[in-house]
């Protein structure tokens, strides 16, 4: 075990996988000489040369599109989109080309590619550099969507994503890059589609993703002082979604709060809530509550950005509402 930051864990996953499989190449803007704008690909260029670590022009459509073509022709591209907000420029290559190829072609194609991107607010990067867009990707059959919340998960999930034969969208919340944790030095995998119970509890299930997992854990800790036992579930993979782990937790706690940083309307939480309502309605003792961002672009000003991002108070309030706690604020 080693102590690593989230960014280092991702870096390590790249390195180990590239050493293992010469068909893996990395491409994207500033991934080589610069080592990635958040340092995730640092050192890879030196170790693997510019054949395998390719700095590209600013050309997202071609970065994604060439990865699709290369994957169809036998390589395993791992591309960096920098900010997930830039997907708009390249979306066709992802959702019309990558996601559908296997199905349209009668099952023959194999598309082993990973598109990494950072997401999330919290650094004042404003409306076009702060979004969480996981629901967009979840809505496309053929894509897998991964969203880790710890350095350990980041490494294991990235390795699994690279080894997966499908196009995987790998979303990294930018506030997590500096987060440290214990991470095995060797390669290991965490199966895609497997949620993780980050904290066990009895009274309420809190399903959270990415940075919201950490907020929810902190809330759970605080609420334990008020006699509320919250179970925090991190799906880790949003598509495929580990429905069973979530359902099992809800069947135990009878209450569900969903926390994510996307806007609430038609966000990933809507899918989770609907799934639970469909499959575990009888177990619920209270309406499901989603804690998420308001239906606005991400504002720049610190006061507005703080209002935008779900915070501990809002999670606490939701939990207290579903648990019927009299101390509701």
């Amino acid at each position: 075990m080693a102590n690593m930051s989230f960014a280092q864990a991702l870096n390590d996953a790249h390195k180990l996988e590239m050493e293992r499989d010469p068909n893996i190449y990395v491409a994207g803007e500033d991934v080589g000489v610069y080592g990635g704008i958040f340092g995730v690909t640092a050192g890879l260029l030196d170790q693997f040369t510019d054949k395998r670590v390719r700095d590209t022009p600013i050309t997202e459509s071609a970065i994604v599109g060439t990865a699709v073509g290369a994957a169809a022709a036998g390589l395993r591209p791992v591309i960096e989109l920098m900010f997930v907000d830039f997907i708009g420029v390249a979306f066709d290559q992802l959702y019309n080309q990558a996601a559908k190829m296997k199905y349209m072609f009668g099952g023959k194609a194999k598309l082993p590619l990973v598109m990494r991107a950072c997401c999330g607010a919290g650094i004042g990067a404003a409306a076009q550099h702060s979004q969480c867009l996981e629901a967009w990707f979840m809505h496309v059959p053929g894509l897998k969507v991964v969203m880790p919340s710890t350095p350990y998960d980041a490494k294991g999930l990235l390795i699994s994503s690279i080894r997966d034969d499908n196009p995987v969208v790998f979303l990294e919340h930018k506030l997590l890059y500096g987060m440290e944790g214990e991470v095995p030095e060797e390669a290991y995998t965490i199966p895609l589609g497997q949620a993780d119970i980050k904290r066990e509890g009895q009274d309420v299930t809190v399903v959270a993703t990415a940075q919201m997992v950490n907020l929810s854990l902190s809330v759970a800790e605080k609420l334990s002082g008020d006699g509320i036992s919250a179970e925090v579930v991190d799906p880790r993979t949003l598509s495929p979604l580990d429905e069973e782990t979530i359902l099992e937790s809800v069947r135990k706690t009878h209450r569900l709060v969903i926390v994510h940083e996307e806007v609430k309307f038609a966000g990933s939480g809507a899918e989770i809530a609907a799934m639970v309502a469909e499959k575990a309605f009888d177990y619920l003792d209270a309406p499901i509550i989603r804690v998420a961002a308001p239906f606005t672009p991400v504002p720049f000003s610190p006061t507005l950005e703080a209002e935008f991002i779900p915070n501990e108070d809002k999670i606490i309030q939701a939990v207290k509402t579903v648990t019927g706690n009299p101390n509701v604020a």
Partner: protein, 320 residues
């Protein structure tokens, strides 16, 4: 098309204003007063200045993430800019946009842009509106060498010539898109060469020479305004600062930076105006003092202004 002394002094003052504004922003950023990213225009002042000196108030521009210079040159108010950079309610965008999204639609400024290559289609669109409405307005699209490789840029140029739109594409070739040098990101040495592919004139000018930029823009804009179609002006320039404040600049060397600093567009024009006796030392000091005063006012206005109230977050998403 001779420049009058007054115009020359105006262009000098504008460049100086951009330079001093950016230096002030760098200071505020270092002091932690500006959230997010700031991309400074230091070293490229001659481009926006020389181009916008040819524009009318109701002409349009589209800008980029490195937009402060474009805004100032199109007549933007530095008080409102500064307040926006600090995320204040009194800023251009009520604190909602920040450096990368400053806009002033009343001045035809269709916004800085956080998406590289986001601006060119907007520019062709604004030009379409002018043509459609029979107005003799022009649109200038500022875009970087990096943006020159985005599909959107090419699509916008193609449509612009297909429809003969009154738009001028002004490329600010500062040799880098973050860390990627044009030498590695394109196989033409001059972005102007690409104009031929869209059947529009494409020219290269010294982007650190405000008069050269002015002359080229003047002719290109005249043609656009008179319905003769779009053109592409490539301005060779350099950013003195990092891509954003805090950039370690591992991708370029000190020698290159010094070479370009020796071609500093502001100092160069200042020296020329002095040599040619268009401008006297005292006048330069006067200009500087007056900018300094305005800047100080802008900073205190920004600092004293309130942050937006959290309740304002849901305002302005839709037009009622």
């Amino acid at each position: 098309m001779s420049l009058t002394n007054e115009q020359m002094i105006g262009m000098y003052a504008n460049m100086k204003k951009i330079r001093m504004f950016e230096e002030q922003v760098a200071e505020l950023f270092a002091a932690g007063k500006i959230p997010g990213f700031v991309h400074l225009y230091v070293g490229e002042e001659a481009v926006a200045t020389g181009v916008c000196a040819n524009l009318r108030e109701d002409d349009y521009i589209t800008s980029t993430h490195r937009g402060h210079g474009h805004l100032i040159s199109k007549g933007g108010d530095i008080k409102l800019m500064m307040a926006e950079l600090l995320g204040k309610k009194t800023g251009y965008c009520k604190g909602k946009g920040g450096s990368m999204h400053i806009a002033d639609l009343d001045l035809g400024i269709l916004g800085a842009n956080g998406i590289v290559g986001g601006g060119p289609p907007l520019a062709s669109g604004a030009a379409l509106a002018s043509q459609y409405q029979g107005k003799d307005l022009v649109t200038v699209c500022f875009f970087g060498d990096g943006a020159a490789n985005q599909g959107t840029t090419h699509e916008a140029m193609n449509l612009a010539t297909c429809w003969k739109l009154p738009v001028v594409f002004v490329n600010e070739n500062n040799m880098y898109g973050i860390s990627s040098c044009t030498l590695n990101s394109m196989c033409v040495a001059d972005i102007a060469d690409r104009a031929a592919a869209y059947d529009m004139p494409g020219v290269v000018v010294d982007g650190n020479d405000v008069v050269a930029v002015y002359e080229a823009a003047s002719e290109a804009l005249r043609q656009a305004r008179e319905g003769e179609g779009p053109s592409l002006i490539e301005c060779k320039t350099y950013r003195h600062k990092g891509h954003f404040e805090g950039d370690p600049c591992v991708y370029r060397n000190e020698e290159e930076l010094q070479e370009w600093k020796a071609k500093d567009p502001v100092l160069r024009f200042e020296k020329k105006l002095l040599d040619m006796q268009v401008l006297a030392r005292e006048k330069i000091d006067e200009i500087k003092d007056s900018i300094e005063k305005d800047l100080a006012k802008a900073v205190s206005f920004a600092e004293e202004s309130p942050f937006p109230d959290p309740s304002e977050i849901i305002e302005d998403v839709y037009t009622p």
